[in-house]
Symmetry: C2
Subunit: 265 residues, 2 copies
Amino acid sequence: MSSPGTVYIIKVGGNVIDNPGFLDSFLADFAAVPALKVLIHGGGKIATRIGDKLGIAANYVNGRRITDAETIDVVTMVYGGLVNKQVVAKLQAHGCNAIGLTGADANIIPAVKRPVKEIDYGFVGDIPTGAVRTAPVKLLLDAGLTPVFSPLTHDGKGQILNTNADTIASSLAVALSEHYTVRLVYCFEKKGVLRNAADDDSVINLINREVYQQLLAEGVLSDGILPKLDNAFAAIESGVKEVLIGHAGDLKRNTTGSVAGTLIC
Amino acid sequence: MSSPGTVYIIKVGGNVIDNPGFLDSFLADFAAVPALKVLIHGGGKIATRIGDKLGIAANYVNGRRITDAETIDVVTMVYGGLVNKQVVAKLQAHGCNAIGLTGADANIIPAVKRPVKEIDYGFVGDIPTGAVRTAPVKLLLDAGLTPVFSPLTHDGKGQILNTNADTIASSLAVALSEHYTVRLVYCFEKKGVLRNAADDDSVINLINREVYQQLLAEGVLSDGILPKLDNAFAAIESGVKEVLIGHAGDLKRNTTGSVAGTLIC
């Protein structure tokens, strides 16, 4: 269903990572996507669990986790090592020639440590506009490899940084739009953007700028979905062909021409 | 000093990984090696330290560590994540365009779980002759990237395996000999192969098969060095141009034409 120049940028959230059975079936579906593709995985709760066991207390300010020196080591281990390499090994078992990466690898995502204002977020990396280097990603994709990114970047001075997986996905999607027709797919635990947060079947199938303004005016969207939608519109305005937000279990439908979730365009 | 077709395969041991200051200066020297190059790093004691904190007891049989299910997760985290990505970020800071890998990535090193005989070593991978896939490594090298391998492989069925870093280095060296003139350099904490284990300056500068037989007959070599030498001769007989065993601090001399350690040919 895909023209040769199409790349799917597929982000899968921590909820899927934390559920081994669901992760396995998701990875089987991902491996079967009949096009060039990139996977970006979130971290899940396993980093918190391992941090707890190591005696590293999670530190939150205004509901946002602070990435101190001990925490960046834990997420580097868990996201960049355990989760990423297990995902790669499983994709290999499904015949998908995956290669696990962070944004430090091949200097693909140079980031900037978030400046300290009211809050010092610690070792968190923001991706400057235009910073993503597409040449190595294109090299891998065109050689038939499937890059799998963990939510880590670096500052170019030797420091690994923690970066939101949604942001990595949209940054990669925008950057790769220069070379490919990019479809960005956010996979999470809901069927899509819901008109009524209490009703899992109230999926809104299509959201454009006009509909979005209307939904905002109606006040029906949940707070959690707003950053995803803002990200999605920003990606589209920067060249991404379409953004799909849907359930991780609907990946197959969402990558073969039909739409099971919410299409943003 | 290197012809364009030369690749250095450089293995650095856990003792260097465990010493942050030494590691930094080693990585600066590595970044400056004026040729195509691949780094393979050992794990160091940090995996044991983190395993201890996580309440995972190290399990040894006949002096060899058993890699049980919990231990393979720890080494996947620590070697494949923490150590590998910190090394990559530091090399990037030195202007070396590093890309961190395990043998699972791009299916470069498919291995076989060691068969259970008297001892069940657990999730340990042996590399069958001819198994290493050079195409992805060549793709990266020829694009100006520097692969950095952690001592992990996979079984092709979804399982990460623990594999000796010396073995990964010699397997890669042999496989890449098909495409390049390969120089294999083992960096460790001694100046080379010593005639007298008690005398750090008793380095034997050149060992060929004849000299090796003589040294074995004299019984002067320490037990620890024998597997390294056996590996080295096996590599040379399979196409590797030369093997150098030397101090990590002598990398610069050992990669620019002179020999500070022991040259095996």
